[in-house]
Symmetry: C2
Subunit: 168 residues, 2 copies
DNA sequence: ATTTTAGGACAGCCTTGTTGACTTTCCAAG
DNA sequence: CTTGGAAAGTCAACAAGGCTGTCCTAAAAT
């Protein structure tokens, strides 16, 4: 195999072997398990799962967002989101305010209780993220983000970048 | 917020704001969707899903692996894997050979048909991966892998590294 | 001879994805 | 002004794929 060619710190990307790309794929698989592990642990036992976490995350990120907007970001169907949203609203974590201008729309907000859960979830996830960043070093973090962004579907990348603007 | 502090290309990781780490989290979420999109597209319509893909991937990666070994790698329960494996065997994509030394064990292999599907799945995924690598550049790829590896649970990291040895 | 291990089968549950039918509201064309 | 279509949201019903738990066989280990 032409392993030795690409082994030299990846100076010549065009010669990356299939095996090396495959390792990237596996790394992605194992890392994602780690990535979701901490929030999953917190959610288990409560009646919630990953779907609730995602909804909470993005409502917190973009307060007063509508259901449709959330649908686009999450990439699921209306009913999947609706079920999750209903339980969050019933439990008093999320508030849905009828739109002023367009009464068809519901503007979603986290309540105090919702904010508290969001904080505990994202704290846990950030701890892991931050420690991975620290272990890998600043340059690696830069590269990490570049590759992730290049890996997204163009449409998702635009949404991601739109979200970014508020944040940075 | 202290955004300006960490804005300087992450030279000082200890001062990365929560917002910046949060963006890493979102990047991971959106990138994973892209990561699974191509195989999902291929699988849809066939009777298979992501679970089948994962099994096929790791059987191809470690031929003659046993069921227990696969269970550890995938991190699912016997029943979850068994359901998947049964359909793959019935459809003639996977062969389970009784162990020579230990007849309790089944050694799993892909058949020609299984290899063909594996190839089409991993080709699709590699195309995306490779183009992301190319877009981000060699240094970024290095960093990408470092952060992913640091993000894994220690136990999974060991398994990942064990798998790597065969490959690199 | 007994216990442990690898694997398989089956029942039944839960989360979260899907589609499709149904309101309510808004807007624009007649 | 009305009416017809599009958009936002709700709900019912189903499927995939996780999970647990139990029971079974065959082989290995003690």
């Amino acid at each position: 195999m032409a392993n030795s060619v690409a082994q030299d710190s990846g100076e010549s990307l065009l010669f990356l072997t299939d095996e090396q790309v495959r390792k990237g794929i596996e790394a992605m698989f194992f890392a994602y398990r780690g990535f979701t592990a901490d929030p999953d642990r917190i959610l288990e036992g409560m009646d919630y799962g990953r779907a609730h976490h995602r909804a909470i995350h993005f409502i917190h990120r973009s307060p007063a967002t509508t259901v449709s907007n959330l649908l686009m970001i999450l990439g699921v169907t209306k009913q999947s989101l609706n079920r999750v949203l209903r339980s969050l609203i019933e439990d008093g974590l999320v508030e849905a305010l009828v739109g002023k201008r367009d009464k068809r729309e519901r503007h979603l907000h986290l309540t105090e209780k919702g904010l508290a859960l969001e904080r505990s979830l994202s704290d846990a996830q950030r701890v892991r993220m931050r420690s991975a960043y620290r272990a890998a070093g600043p340059a690696a973090v830069q590269g990490f983000r570049q590759v992730l962004e290049a890996m997204m579907d163009p449409e998702l990348r635009r949404q991601f970048q739109t979200l970014k603007e508020g944040g940075v």
